[in-house]
Every structure is written in C-alpha cells, then in structure tokens.
C-alpha cells in the first residue's frame, strides 16, 4: 500500500446480522492523502453502512479495510475505537451536536477522547480552546455564539460547529454524511466551500457522502456506490 493512502478497501463483504442478503460487496475503494471524493447513491444503498465500516464501528464479514496502512479487521473493537478517535472526523446530516453542551465544548469533544487529537490541536502552541475558537472563526460562526447551548443555533450554524469538531486536531480523514441535505441551496454552497477550505488547511482527506449529484462538481472523485457495490445489482439489503 502506498504510504499516502489514507484508506483502502479490498474485497469487502458486509451483511447485517440475521439477514441473508449481502449489503455491501466492494472489490476496491481507495483514497490518497488530501483527496476529496464524492460518494453518492440513493437512500438505502449502503452509504451510511460503508461509513460505519470505514470508521471501524462495524466490522466486515470478509475483506480488508485499511486505515493509514492498518488493517481494521485485525484490531480489537477498542483499538478500532481508538483509531477512529485519533484519525477520523465526522460530520452528520443533522442533529450533529450534543444538545446539552455549549458550542465550544461540542467542538472540543474529540480532544476529550483522543490524546493524539488533543496534542495535534495544541501543536501550534495554541490552547485547546484557542484552537476551537480559531476553527469556529474560520467557519464564520459569530463569537457571541461560542458559549451558547448548541440547541440555540440554526441548522446551518450547527453544521459549521460540527465541521469545526470534525476538523479539530487535524484528522487524516474527514467523513461527511449528507451534511448539506438540511440546508437550502445557497447555504449548501457556502458550507461546502468552508468545509473543503478548512479540510485543505488541515491536510485532511475528505469522503463526502450525498444523494445530491449537483454537489459532485466540488470534488475530484465522483464515486457512485450502486456502481461500486456488486451486491446492489440485485435487491438492496442495506436497510434493516
């Protein structure tokens, strides 16, 4: 494997427990450091399942998923949790923030679970809070919102906080699961530009998942999961 490869999937087979049909059958998928990929497909085609597999939350039945050269299948679940915390940032579709934490504490959440992310966030000499504030500022979130409860923010503002949380500590891989689907078209563009700009600044590889093909133009790679997934030629088995 090339040392610049962030993640690589080889001959992946996954099916949900107590289901006969295979959900995902991916012969190969690979992203290099700094690449931005757009993964699309209709609802229920297995996009979120694939992200959980890359994140090490789910384990494949067969095949290899390598993250930064490490085969996740050879790791215990606690080691996979640690790797996820250290190297991957997530942005979800909506309800992205822990509702009882203030904005700044939501951003700092990964640093609470990962010493590596904490060290990297402080690498430039900044304090953790300073780094969180820098990211929030870069993502155009007004300063007076930083100490407010997450639930006080609009959906668009919440997504920017989620982006800051995903990027703190410079993770090698940023996974965004339909982060713009709750935003109107204008805000989608703004959010996407901010996200990719900050991901570039952090040196993160981006895997952006959406069913909205219009957004594909922002990305170098355009990956159609139904095409990649050999199991989807028949009935899909990714909805449980």
């Amino acid at each position: 494997m090339n040392s610049e490869t962030v993640f690589a999937i080889t001959d992946l087979i996954f099916r949900w427990p107590r289901q006969d049909a295979v959900c995902l059958d991916l012969p190969a998928l690979r992203l290099q450091r700094g690449e931005h990929a757009f993964l699309h497909g209709p609802s229920g085609c297995g996009k979120s399942t694939l992200l959980s597999l890359i994140g090490g939350v789910l384990a494949p039945e067969n095949g290899r998923i390598e993250l930064l050269g490490e085969d996740l299948g050879r790791l215990r679940s606690t080691q996979r949790d640690r790797r996820r915390a250290d190297h991957i940032g997530f942005v979800f579709q909506q309800f992205n923030l822990v509702p009882y934490l203030p904005v700044i504490d939501n951003v700092l959440l990964p640093c609470r679970f990962s010493a590596r992310r904490r060290e990297r966030a402080q690498a430039g000499g900044a304090s953790l809070r300073g780094e969180a504030e820098r990211l929030l500022g870069h993502l155009d979130l007004a300063r007076d919102l930083w100490r407010r409860p997450a639930t006080d923010l609009s959906v668009g503002q919440q997504q920017r906080v989620a982006a800051a949380r995903a990027l703190i500590g410079h993770p090698e891989l940023l996974i965004a699961d339909e982060p713009t689907s709750a935003l109107d078209a204008g805000r989608q563009e703004v959010f996407l530009d901010l996200l990719l700009r900050e991901a570039n600044a952090a040196g993160s590889t981006v895997l952006f998942v959406s069913h909205d093909r219009r957004l594909a133009s922002h990305f170098v790679h355009d990956l159609a999961l139904p095409t990649l997934n050999r199991a989807s030629h028949g009935e899909t088995a990714c909805t449980i």
Binding site: L51, D81, F92, V98, R112, F113
Partner: protein, 424 residues
C-alpha cells in the same frame, strides 16, 4: 472517565425536571420503606422497654394480650377487674417479693389516670431494669396527691402544687369530672420513653375517694362527700384492674402462674410480659409484613419509573450516543454513562429520602409520643440500628444499580447496532 462523569452530569442537568421527579419518587419510596422499618423497629423497642423486671402481670381471666395492652400500655378497652382480696392474697404469697396494684379507668385531659401504691415508685422497672426517678417533688403520700409523668407535665405545663381535676372514664368530658375532689401535683417523674410519661399517678385510696359518691358511672344525685370527710370512709379498693408481681426467685414463675390459674376463689391469670408481647407481635406480625411488602412494592415502582424514564429518553438520545461513538467513545463507556445516570439518581433519591424521613421524624416523634405513647428513637441510632439501616439502604441501592444497568445495557446494544447512523 472523568469527562464521562462531566457528560453524565450535564446530560442529567439537561433533563433535570424529568429526572428530578424520578428522584423524588425514589426519595418518597425510600422514606416510606425506611420509615416503615424504623417505625416497626422503634414501636417494638418502645413496647419491650415499657416494662422490665416484672415476672407476672395478673388480672381477670381474659385475653392476655388485651390485659397487657390495657394495663401496661393503656391501649384498648378496659378489661374486667380482679378482686382486691385476691390481689392481697397474692401480695402475701411467700414466693412474691413485691407487688404493685394497678387501677385504671379515669383520665385527665386525655391522659390516663393510674391508681397505685407507693410500691410503684420503688419496684417498677422499665428499659434495662431502670427504676423510676423523680424529676421534681416526691412520690404521693396523701390521698389527693398526684404524681405526673414527664409528658403530662410538659404538655399541660404543670408544676408542683398545681390543682388538677380528674374525669370519670377516659372521655375527659366536663360533665363527668370529679370536680369536687381535686388533686394536687406533688411530684413529676423524669422522662422514661414509656407510657409512664403519659400517666397521672394517684394513690389507690384517692381513686376510691373520688368514687365514694358515684354509682354506675355517674354521681349519685343529691349526695356529695367533701374531701375533708373522705377519711371517715373505708378507702380500701374493692377491685383493681391488674397487679404487677416480682418473685423472689424467677424460677418460681411457672409454679406461680399455675397457682394463680388454679385459684378457685377467682378466675385469674398471670401472664409473663415478654411472652405476651411475643404473642402480640405474632398477631400484628402479618400486618407488619404486609406493610413492609407494600413499601418494597412502592420502592420497586419508583425504580421501575427510573428505568422507564431513562429508557424513554434513550431513543431520543441515540443520535447523541452515535456522536459520542464517532469521536471515540466505546460502547462500554456509553453503558457507563447511562448506568451512572441511573445510579446517581438512585443515590440522590436515597439521600433525599433519608433527609425527608429524618425531618419527618424530628417533627413527628414528639407528636407520636404524645398521642400514641410510643417513644420513637427519632434520629438516635444504636450500632445495630445503623447496621440494619445501612443494609436496607444497601438493598435499595443494589436494586437501583441493577435497574440502572438495564438502560445502560440497551445503550450498549444500540451503539453496536446503530453504527454511526441510528435507525430510529
């Protein structure tokens, strides 16, 4: 781990009203459960402390428990009287070391009046064979002398020399007062925590004197004997309620009991206070157990509510758990998060419940003592009390901890099933 505790606290604070009510229900259940157990324990102790060193309680043949309750605890209905001659015969029995006559029936402002002899102050024992002690004044000597129990003096604000009027029967009605023959307080007993505290003690001749001009429970019309003239009458009682007996040798108690039962002159019985109390506890034991069972049921309902509240909130929190998973939280850390919440609410409920009960005991102990003659220990706990209380609270905590694991386990399972996208 430290940050998980911070998260648990903040999450709980975010749902403080729901959890607050759950905590309150556990607190009330704890108060009820511990309260019932304390009450049960203290009532038993209060009863068993009320008389000690007495070998036999003698009275007309009837229910031993009823005789015990009426003669010693002043509870329940009056029993049939025994003849004074029978009491004298027993008092003069060679095996008897001392005897105390008890004559009940009248009252003073709700407190029972006991006609007895001076031997009462010499031989009566309570608690751990403690003798009666005068707080002020001296035992009665004259016919119209009265010695008050500590509670009577305190509640009615009486001092030495006070003039008191007794009422016929236990009603305390003005119309049934022995107003023509008042008594004078010559002594006040130190507190004992027994029914003695709630009793007005008068000499047997005094009890006879106030009834000289009464017949069939009412004053004889047109006939009144002034106090100064009562000595001209025979003030020896005809009957008394019961008699306490102390034997020279405890080993003679069964022989004496048999001799009393075999006496052909009068149908009497001699009961051993400890044995009769045991019979009494057997009678009320089932009720006690039922009460305790109900209390446990209430506690379980409270804990069930805790599980229901946390489980109900869990579906709404699946996204939050997925976010925590995405930043590296392990499934067992989520289990810890949810279980900690349930455990904390249980502990909080127990603490609040014990505090509530303590406050209630402080407020209610004097009232219960005044109205029911039962001396609760309140906040005073012996070593054994602390042990049994700790065991009871430990059981509640254990039940709460097990109950808390249910939502924790479900959170653990969901975090494995959901991956990063809850399927709600």
């Amino acid at each position: 781990m430290h940050y998980l505790i911070v998260l648990a606290v903040r999450s709980a604070w975010n749902r403080r009203y729901t959890l607050g009510f759950t905590l309150l229900s556990i607190a009330l259940a704890t108060s009820l459960l511990v309260g019932v157990e304390r009450l049960r324990h203290d009532v038993r102790e209060s009863f068993s402390q009320s008389v000690s060193g007495t070998d036999l309680l003698v009275g007309a043949r009837a229910s031993p428990v009823q005789l015990m309750l009426y003669a010693v605890f002043r509870i329940g209905e009056a029993t049939q009287n025994m003849r004074w001659t029978s009491a004298q015969k027993l008092a003069n029995h060679p095996a008897v070391a001392w005897s105390i006559p008890l004559s009940l029936g009248d009252s003073h402002r709700g407190f029972p009046v006991l006609g007895t002899s001076a031997d009462y102050f010499t031989h009566f024992r309570y608690g751990d064979r403690q003798p009666l002690r005068m707080q002020a004044g001296k035992p009665f000597d004259g016919i119209f002398d009265a010695v008050l129990g500590a509670e009577v003096a305190r509640k009615l604000g009486y001092r030495l020399g006070e003039k008191i009027v007794l009422a016929h029967g236990g009603s305390g009605l003005e119309g049934a007062a022995h107003a023509d023959k008042p008594f004078f307080v010559v002594g006040i007993l130190a507190p004992t925590g027994t029914p003695v505290d709630r009793t007005v003690h008068i000499p047997l001749p005094g009890m006879e004197a106030i009834h000289l001009d009464w017949q069939g429970g009412a004053p004889v019309p047109g006939f009144s004997i002034p106090p100064a003239l009562v000595r001209k009458f025979d003030l020896t009682p005809k009957t008394i309620t019961a008699q306490l007996i102390g034997l020279k040798q405890r080993g003679d108690v069964f022989a004496m009991q048999r001799a009393i039962a075999d006496d052909s002159d009068e149908a009497l019985m001699g009961v051993m206070p400890g044995v009769t109390l045991d019979q009494f506890w057997e009678l009320v034991g089932q009720g006690e157990q039922a009460l305790l069972l109900i209390s446990w049921m209430v506690a379980l309902v409270g804990l069930g509510g805790l599980v229901a509240v946390i489980l109900a909130s869990l579906d709404a929190r699946r996204r939050e758990l997925a976010i925590l998973r995405s930043v590296g939280a392990r499934p067992r850390e989520l289990l810890f998060l949810l279980a900690l919440e349930g455990f904390s609410v249980t502990v909080g409920g127990i603490v609040v419940g014990v505090a509530l009960l303590s406050a209630l005991l402080v407020l209610a102990t004097p009232w219960i003592a005044a109205h029911y003659g039962i001396a609760l220990n309140g906040l005073k706990l012996s070593g054994d009390d602390v042990t049994s209380l700790a065991a009871l609270l430990g059981w509640i905590l254990l039940a709460g901890s097990v109950a808390s694991l249910l939502p924790g386990w479900r959170a653990y399972r969901l975090s494995l099933i959901d991956g990063l996208t809850p399927r709600t």
